[in-house]
C-alpha cells in the first residue's frame, strides 16, 4: 500500500500575535513554516535543531496535540490516493478543490473527527521529555500504563488489561511488583520506561519521541536508548526522534532532518550527513559538537550572533544572517529542498559551489 507510514505535506503552524488596543492580529510566530517530508515504515527518523527551530511543535502538530494551521498529514494511507488528493489540491478549478476537501476529511489526520480520530490515535503515540511531568502523580502505574487501552476499549475486562500491563512492564524491564506504586517512588530512568510502556499499550505503529533522554543522566540515557532500539526491532515500530543531541541521534537513527527556524534545511541518511554535510548550518552544527576524545581537534565553525526569534524571521533563506557564505540571492529567495543525489535533500542556494 505505502512504504511511508507518515506523509507530511506543507505543514504550517503559526501562532497569531495580537497587539494594539483592539487586540488585532498583527503578526505570526511561524513556528513551523511549510515543511514536507515522509517517514518510512520501520525507520527511525531523527529531527535535530536548536531551540526555536520548531521540531517539537512539528512533532506535536503531526500528533494533533496542537491543531496545525495548514497542511496535510497522511497516516498509513494508500500512496496512490495521496497523489490523487495532492494533485487535486494543486489544481485551480473550484470543483477540484471542493472534492479535495471532501476526500481530505477522511484521509488527513489534521481533519479527522470523532470516532475516526480516536481510532487513528490507536496507531500513534508519544513519549515526552520530562519523566517527572509526563506521569500523573496521583495515579498508580497500573492505571497509567493501562489508560490507553481503557480509553480505546481494547479489552473488555479489567483482568485482561492488568495482564497486558504486566506484560508491557516486563518488556521495558520492570516487573509486576511495580504496578501498584506511585510515580514519585521511581527514578528518572524508570519513569521514562513507564512512559515507554504506556506508549506501547495500544500496539501503535508510530511513536513520536520528544527528547526522551535529554532529562536523564548519561548512563541512564544509554539504557533507554538501547531499550528503544530493541523495541523498534521487536515490534516493527517507526520513530520520529526529536532531539538536540547530535551524537545520540547518530546512534539511533537511520535518517536525519535538520531544522532551523521552522524550515527544514537538510535531510539525508545518517552516516552520510555526518560524513558529507551539505548545508552550512549542518556543517556548523556538526563542528560544534564537543567530542569525547581529547586527541581529535576539529576546526570549529563558530557562528556569530544568536538563534533569531521566530517572530521576525529573516527574509529569504532563514539562515543567511549567520551564514558565513551568504550572498545576495540568499536574502531574497527562500531555497527549496533539492535532491543532491541518493535521497539527500538540501535547501541552500549555493550547495553545489560549497561542496
Amino acid at each position: 500500500m505505502n512504504d511511508n507510514i507518515l506523509d507530511i505535506r506543507n505543514l504550517k503552524k503559526y501562532y497569531p500575535v495580537k497587539g494594539g488596543v483592539m487586540r488585532r492580529h498583527i503578526a505570526d510566530v511561524k513556528a513551523v513554516d511549510d515543511v514536507s517530508f515522509q517517514i518510512k515504515r520501520g525507520e527511525c527518523l531523527g529531527m535535530v535543531g536548536e531551540s526555536g527551530c520548531g521540531k517539537t511543535t512539528l512533532g506535536k502538530a503531526i500528533l494533533r496535540l496542537h491543531d496545525a494551521t495548514a497542511g496535510r498529514v497522511y497516516l498509513d494511507q494508500d500512496a496512490e490516493k495521496i497523489e490523487e488528493l495532492e494533485a487535486l489540491f494543486a489544481s485551480d478549478k473550484p470543483e477540484a478543490v471542493a472534492q479535495a476537501e471532501a476526500m481530505r476529511k477522511m484521509m488527513d489526520l489534521t481533519r479527522l473527527k470523532g470516532r475516526a480520530m480516536k481510532e487513528a490515535r490507536r496507531k500513534i503515540n508519544i513519549v515526552f521529555q520530562d519523566p517527572s511531568n509526563s506521569l500523573n502523580p496521583r495515579l498508580l502505574i497500573k492505571d497509567i500504563v493501562g489508560e490507553p487501552m481503557i480509553i480505546q476499549h481494547v479489552y473488555s475486562s479489567a483482568a485482561e488489561v492488568e495482564e497486558r500491563v504486566v506484560e508491557l512492564l516486563g518488556t521495558v524491564g520492570l516487573s509486576r511488583e511495580h504496578m501498584r506504586r506511585y510515580p514519585h517512588e521511581f527514578s528518572g530512568g524508570q519513569r521514562q520506561r513507564i512512559a515507554v510502556a504506556r506508549a506501547l499499550a495500544t500496539n501503535p505503529k508510530f511513536i513520536l519521541m520528544d527528547e526522551p533522554t535529554s532529562a536523564l543522566d548519561v548512563s541512564v540515557q544509554a539504557q533507554i536508548l538501547n531499550l528503544l532500539k530493541r523495541l523498534q526491532d521487536e515490534f516493527q515500530l517507526t520513530y520520529l526522534f526529536v532531539t538536540h543531541h547530535l551524537l545520540v541521534v547518530k546512534y539511533i537513527t537511520q535518517r536525519i532532518a535538520v531544522m532551523y527556524l521552522g524550515k527544514m534545511m537538510e535531510l539525508s541518511q545518517t552516516p552520510e550527513l555526518f560524513k558529507t554535510p551539505l548545508h552550512p548550518y549542518t556543517k556548523a552544527l556538526l563542528s560544534a559538537i564537543p567530542i569525547p576524545d581529547p586527541e581529535t581537534k576539529i576546526e570549529k565553525i563558530i557562528l556569530s550572533g544568536d538563534v533569531p526569534n521566530p517572530l521576525n524571521p529573516p527574509s529569504g533563506c532563514r539562515f543567511h544572517p549567520r551564514c558565513p557564505y551568504a550572498k545576495e540571492i540568499c536574502k531574497e529567495r527562500i531555497p527549496e529542498l533539492e535532491d543532491a543525489g541518493g535521497g539527500h535533500l538540501v535547501a541552500c542556494h549555493r550547495w553545489r559551489e560549497l561542496n
Binding site: K60, L63, L65, M117, K118, R121, R122, I124, N125, I126, F128, Q129, D130, N133, S134, L135, N136, P137, R138, L139, L140, I144, E147, P148, I151, Q152, G173, L174, S175, E177, H178, R180, R181, Y182, H184, E185, F186, S187, Q190, A195, R198, A201, T202, Q223, N226, L227, R230
Partner: protein, 319 residues
C-alpha cells in the same frame, strides 16, 4: 560483553521491598496524616473543632431544650431587660431578656456548623464547576465566566447582602442563601489558576494523545491534581463564613432575639456593650463570651486549613 539492559536494571536497594501491605493509597494517606499531626498547631486546631463538634452533637444532653419542638429557642426566666451576670442558674450569665448564654453557645455550635458546612459545600460545587470549565476550555468560555466572576467581586458585599436579605426576608436561612450567592468567586479563581497550570502538563497531553475525550481528561487527570488548593481555601472559609454570618446577624439581618445563634446573641447586646459610667465593664459577659466563641471557632478552622496546606501543597511535598 553485551550488557543486556533488561538484567538487573532495577537496583534492589532503590525500590523498597514489596510487602503484602495495604493499598498504596492508604499508605499515602497514612503518611500524610502522620505529617499532619506532627505539627502542634494542627493538634490545637483539631482539638478546638472536636470540642465544638462534641458541643453540637451532644447538645440535647448538655442543654436540654425547654421547648422540645423548637430546641433553638433559648430559655429565659423572667423578662428583665438588663442582662444578669454569671450565677448558679445561668453559669455564663444571660442576655437581655434573660436568655441563657450557655444554652445559646451550645445550640449555637450546631448552627455554626450548619452554616459553615452548607455554605462552603455549595460554594465548592459552584466554584469548581465554573472554574474547571473556565480553566480547561479557555477562550470565550473563560472570558464569560471570568467576567461574571468579576461582576460578583465588584459588588460591595454588605450592601448586596442587606439588599438580598430584605428581599428574601430575615432569618438564618436567608443569611445562608446570601452567603452562597456571594462567596463563590474566590473558589472559581483559585481552581482556575491551578487548572491553567495542570492543563499544560505532559500527562494531560499524553491522555489526549491516547484518544481521551474532554470529560475523561477533566475527571481523571485535571481535577485530582488541582483540587487541593481549593480544599485548603474551603477549610479556612468554614470559619470565615461563620464570621460573615455573625456580622450579618449583628447588623440585624438574622433571626429574632430568642434564636440560639452566636451572631444573633451579640446583636441583641448592642446596647449593653459598654456599661453604666463608673462600671464600664459591668456586662463583659454578653459580648466577650459569644465573641470569644466565634473567634475560637474560626481559629480552629484556620489552623486546620494551614496544616492541611503544609502537608498537601504539592510544591511543599517531600518529593
Amino acid at each position: 560483553m553485551q550488557t543486556n539492559d533488561n538484567q538487573q536494571t532495577i537496583n534492589a536497594e532503590a525500590v523498597k521491598p514489596v510487602v503484602r501491605s495495604a493499598h498504596p493509597r492508604w499508605k499515602e494517606f497514612g503518611f500524610s496524616m502522620k505529617r499532619l499531626f506532627k505539627n502542634p498547631l494542627t493538634i490545637i486546631g483539631v482539638s478546638i473543632i472536636l470540642f465544638f463538634a462534641v458541643l453540637a452533637i451532644f447538645a440535647p444532653l448538655l442543654a436540654p431544650p425547654e421547648y422540645p419542638d423548637d430546641p433553638y429557642k433559648m430559655p429565659h426566666n423572667g423578662w428583665k431587660m438588663t442582662p444578669s451576670p454569671p450565677s448558679a442558674e445561668n453559669p455564663l450569665g444571660t442576655l437581655p431578656q434573660q436568655y441563657d448564654i450557655l444554652y445559646g453557645i451550645i445550640w449555637g455550635a450546631r448552627n455554626a456548623f450548619k452554616i459553615g458546612i452548607l455554605v462552603v459545600l455549595a460554594n465548592l460545587v459552584v466554584g469548581i464547576v465554573l472554574g474547571a470549565l473556565a480553566g480547561y476550555f479557555g477562550g470565550i468560555v473563560d472570558e464569560i465566566i471570568m467576567r461574571i466572576t468579576d461582576i460578583f467581586y465588584s459588588i460591595p458585599f454588605l450592601v448586596m447582602a442587606m439588599a438580598l436579605v430584605v428581599a428574601i426576608g430575615r432569618g438564618l436561612q436567608s443569611i445562608v442563601i446570601v452567603l452562597i450567592i456571594l462567596n463563590w468567586p474566590s473558589y472559581t479563581r483559585v481552581i482556575r489558576s491551578e487548572i491553567l497550570v495542570v492543563r499544560d502538563m505532559d500527562y494531560v497531553q499524553a491522555a489526549k494523545a491516547s484518544g481521551a475525550g474532554h470529560l475523561w481528561t477533566l475527571i481523571r487527570h485535571v481535577m485530582p491534581n488541582s483540587v487541593f488548593s481549593v480544599i485548603i481555601v474551603a477549610s479556612m472559609q468554614i470559619g470565615t463564613t461563620v464570621l460573615s454570618a455573625a456580622s450579618l446577624s449583628f447588623l440585624g439581618l438574622g433571626s429574632g432575639a430568642e434564636y440560639a445563634d452566636w451572631g444573633q446573641m451579640v446583636s441583641t447586646c448592642r446596647n449593653w456593650i459598654v456599661g453604666p459610667p463608673g462600671d464600664r465593664l459591668a456586662f463583659w459577659y454578653v459580648v466577650l463570651i459569644p465573641g470569644f466563641t466565634i473567634a475560637l471557632f474560626v481559629l480552629g478552622w484556620n489552623l486546620l486549613g494551614d496544616a492541611i496546606r503544609d502537608v498537601f501543597d504539592p510544591k511543599m511535598r517531600r518529593k
